[in-house]
Symmetry: C2
Subunit: 229 residues, 2 copies
């Protein structure tokens, strides 16, 4: 048992699953944190649970965030239409309706709070800014500035032992993330990406499109079920 602790933000998608496996490969003792925030695809929370069970994570916390009370987003308002079949080359250039205001800021803040409370060294988040949906809170300039704010605004930071934010996937393509995951033995069949959150993945939302493109470019089969396309 190592004493090096890390909090991992585990959504249940393939990026966070790979980040979890990466942290374990670096000998961190892992504390997984998953959020039920009223997302349309609460199906991903089931995936997070299955991933935590697969990796025998001793401490996996599921927090309920009442974002539906305050946030305007197509991921929170289940009556809104999801963007479908957006051209892949435009995904990173415009912020879509699925953007949830300040979501990563809120989730990182909770990660930081927990990390500080259990004397963890790091908070891992599986964001990437290459094959992504144009969310501003996935960009490295945001993450490094948030890290700085966290250093200034926490006890550990003031005491010279700031919690480190780790985002190891930030510059990888989706195909590279999948290849890394395969190397690390990630059970991708347990992960969930589709925003629609039905029994099968839709294959058309931004998240499905990025996933499909990634598996195709990596030359690896995606084991999850998709609707007929």
């Amino acid at each position: 048992m190592t004493s090096k602790k890390a909090v991992i933000l585990l959504s249940g998608g393939l990026d966070s699953a790979t980040t979890l496996a990466y942290a374990i490969s670096k000998d961190y003792s892992v504390y997984a944190l998953t959020f039920n925030y009223g997302q349309r695809h609460a199906r991903e929370v089931v995936a997070a649970r299955e991933l935590a069970a697969h990796y025998k994570i001793e401490t996996h916390k599921l927090l309920n965030l009442d974002l539906q009370a305050i946030g305007r987003s197509a991921l929170l308002d289940h009556t809104k239409e999801l963007p479908m079949n957006r051209p892949l080359d435009k995904l990173s250039n415009e912020i879509p309706e699925t953007y949830v205001p300040a979501r990563n800021i809120i989730m990182l803040s909770y990660g930081l709070s927990w990390a500080e409370s259990i004397d963890a060294e790091s908070v891992f988040i599986g964001v990437n800014s290459i094959d992504y949906s144009g969310y501003p809170d996935c960009r490295p300039e945001f993450l490094s500035t948030f890290q700085h704010a966290a250093e200034l605004g926490t006890k550990t930071g003031v005491e010279g032992k700031p919690i480190k934010l780790e985002f190891p996937l930030i510059n990888l393509t989706k195909a590279e993330i999948i290849k890394l995951g395969v190397e690390l033995g990630v059970p991708f069949g347990l992960t969930w990406s589709c925003y629609r959150g039905s029994a099968k993945a839709c294959g058309k939302c931004d998240s499905c499109q990025l996933r499909l493109k990634g598996f195709e470019e990596a030359g690896i089969d995606d084991e999850i079920d998709y609707d007929e396309m």
Copy 2:
């Protein structure tokens, strides 16, 4: 009815009450946000409700944050002893047991999320760094860096219309805050500061001590009831 909207973090203490009155005096249409985070002094939430009613705030949201699940603090763990009768000159120089890891970071993140969702211009927070308990997340250097992170990590920021963080009390002494509040007509008798959260204020915790000193220096009577001291 003005169209200039602001989210106000309203704890129910005298600083947030004064900040609320200040924002109203600046013609903001006010959206008040209060958190029930398992704090020992949930009594302050009652105060926030009474203040919102006093000011006829149309939208006052109360969010439950599950900080007790992750946070280590004497404010969250009701079995821990509260620091009492700490020398006033030391309050700002050491971080006490009542520090809640990343509390203001979490609360500001929610404020930001709501502000972005309702097209508000600003988020007001009543922190001050003069007569305070040494919490790192009350310092101006933290707040300005958080503002920068928020600009980089939100849609409105990327679009060049960032939500502004306003902390008008940051450089005021507690006495100056109370005098400002009196000018603005704040009903201080409705506010609550004591960490213990019993029927009467204890007069001995950091929060009571700062309040009592402020009223004394301002030469104004504090209308709330204290235990015999």
